[in-house]
């Protein structure tokens, strides 16, 4: 099914981070469609709209104005329509407890934003590839936990 593309969304209030993110996917050439949102409110407005194309993987920055990543995560998890979206927390840093907490709340992936572009590309490709495995091989998505 090579004609399939992987639909990816990022919600991050930092312009530089959004740029790094889209640049990385551009260079990865992985047959992905990336869209970005500037904050949680924008993101949720889109996801809740009727003609929304739900992403395969949603990258959520934790620290966003108006509506932070955890709030988005809770809303998405409470919505059956969106239950298939793999959620990746995409954050600067957190304590071990906080990381575990986001997993418990339903996040599948936790990514500490890397400090080099090369590393970023590697991490993003791993996430997409792993998600692809879950998507195409009928693995139990409830058990999809990954930390990078």
């Amino acid at each position: 099914m090579p004609n399939d593309y992987i639909n990816i969304i990022l919600a991050d209030d930092d312009e530089d981070d959004r740029l790094f993110f889209t640049d990385a996917f551009d260079e990865l050439k992985m047959n992905t469609k990336v869209s970005t949102f500037n904050d949680g409110v924008e993101l949720m407005a889109y996801l809740n709209s009727d003609d929304a194309i739900l992403p395969n993987v949603l990258f959520l920055d934790l620290n966003m104005p108006l509506k932070n990543g955890i709030e988005c995560l809770n809303e998405i998890k409470a919505n059956n329509k969106m239950s298939d979206i793999a959620i990746a927390i995409y954050s600067t840093s957190a304590s071990e407890e906080d990381i575990e907490e986001t997993f418990v709340l339903g996040a599948n992936i936790y990514i500490k934003k890397p400090s080099s572009f090369k590393q970023l590309k590697k991490v993003l490709s791993e996430v997409v590839s792993m998600n692809w495995q879950y998507h195409t091989n009928g693995l139990n998505k409830d058990n999809f936990l990954m930390r990078l």
């Binding site: 930092d14 600067t92 840093s93 934003k113 890397p114 400090s115 080099s116």
Partner: protein, 594 residues
Amino acid sequence: MIRKVFAKSAFFLRIIFVVGLFLILIIGGFTYRHIYNLTDSTKQVVSTYKVNVELEKVISYLKDAENGHRNYILTKDTTYLEPYLSAREKVNESFAELKEIANHGENQEENLKVLSKYIDALFTNFSETSTFISGDETLSEAFKTNFFEEKIIMDSIRQKVNEMIDFENSLLKKHQEQYQSNLKFTPLFLYLVLLITLVLIIISYYKINVDFKNIRLINSQLLIFKEAAVQLEIIGKHGNWVWHIDKEKYTFSDNLYRVLGEKPGSFVPTFENFISFVHPEDKEKFAKDVEDMMKNEDLPFIYYRIVQKDGTIKHIKGYGKLLINNEGEKRIVGNITDISDEIERFLEIEERNLELEKNNAELSEFNYVASHDLQEPLRKIQTFISRLEEKEAKNLSSFGSQYLERIKVSATRMRLLIDDLLQFSRTNKPDKEFVLTNLNELLENAKQDVTETILEKKAIITNDVLPTVLVIPFQVHQLFLNLLSNSLKYSKTAEAPVIKIEYSLINSKDDHNLINVSKSNYHKITFSDNGIGFEQQYAEQIFELFNRLHNKQEYSGTGVGLSICKKIIDNHNGVITAQGEPQVGSIFKIYLPE
């Protein structure tokens, strides 16, 4: 103690008094008996002599009669019969007297009867003889016989009288002897009793004297106590009051007046006068507390404020208790204390504590936010550097590449510092949950975190089986990780690192590192390595924040890792120590309470 001595003494004196009284009664009794005996004896003597005299009298009268009778026979003159006739009367009188006084038993009565018979016989004989005289048959045989009989009877009387006198005398003698013997012991006995009494009196005197001395001593001590109490009241800002419930009377100590800001005795000690000093806002509560006190006859600690005349407000703490003395008099004795200073200090400390807490929270918040927020721009700097390296490397001069490299190294180091600082501030946060955790699992996880370094350096790590302990799991994982990283980081370049992790459960008494600890049993876990070690003199310093013993070009540490370890161990109420020898290795011992 003193009370007990006096009680004992009083009991002793009471016994001596009773014994003395008893002895004096005995003496009185004996004396009375003795005097009684003496009188009795005298009576006896007198009666014996009276009896003897009467008996002699009887003999004498009989002799007079005999004599008269004989004279009549010889002369036939009847005038000689006169004494004979009066003798007869006198004998009868004496005999009656004898019968009255000679009351010394049946024996003597019998004797008297016999004597009376003899006397009657004698007088009968006299009359018979007289008939012979009137018949002038003086020399007849019958007369002679009669006359002879007379003589025999007379002799019998004499004998009987003598017998009686002898009996009386012997009786008297016997009596006298008994009396003598009585008289011999009584004085001695009395003397002894007197002596004992005297001794008792002397002992009592001594005892009383001693008690008196003690009382004087205690009195002087009491005086000192009283003075001390007065001084204490002044120093401790106490005031004492007594409420004599029955008499409806109050007494206030001098210092109570001073606590109220008045001169001692400047107003009449009454409840109304006292309550006039109580702060208006506290009056109601105070009155209620006092009412409760009257009801319950006991006063718990009560707190109120008073207002002195000059407007100064003082905080007072009061207490009272009911006392009932031996006479059943009821009094409530109470104290008030001026605790204004205490309260002021307490408020000050509380304020300072709050400030400190706030400062602390702010500081750790600042630390956290600073390190967290600093990460973001730094990460971007690093990412842009990596982009520059990738895309623009060809366009840079050799200087440019060199500078870029330097910037990269500095940024990396800054990242390390911020990461560690963040980690440190995280361990600072309170309210962590303690969970019963298998330490083997935490150690295994920590080992996994450093797998790459272990493989790269070909490190050998051995460990004992660790216990399951109540800990903050994330922190102990961090602790193990930091200790392992430390050993791996400061390893010798020429030698593969060997890290030994040993465990034992120990008693705090058996380890000199566990002085002044609260628990008795501790889990001791030792991390020892064969790394570059350190001078023992720095063993304390290495736990301080940002303290590094090694050049940062050689070793990449930030000086935070071991501070985090210390912090974590502190959070667990444990102990951590370091021991090192340059080029031999270092040993870290951690002690966690069981």
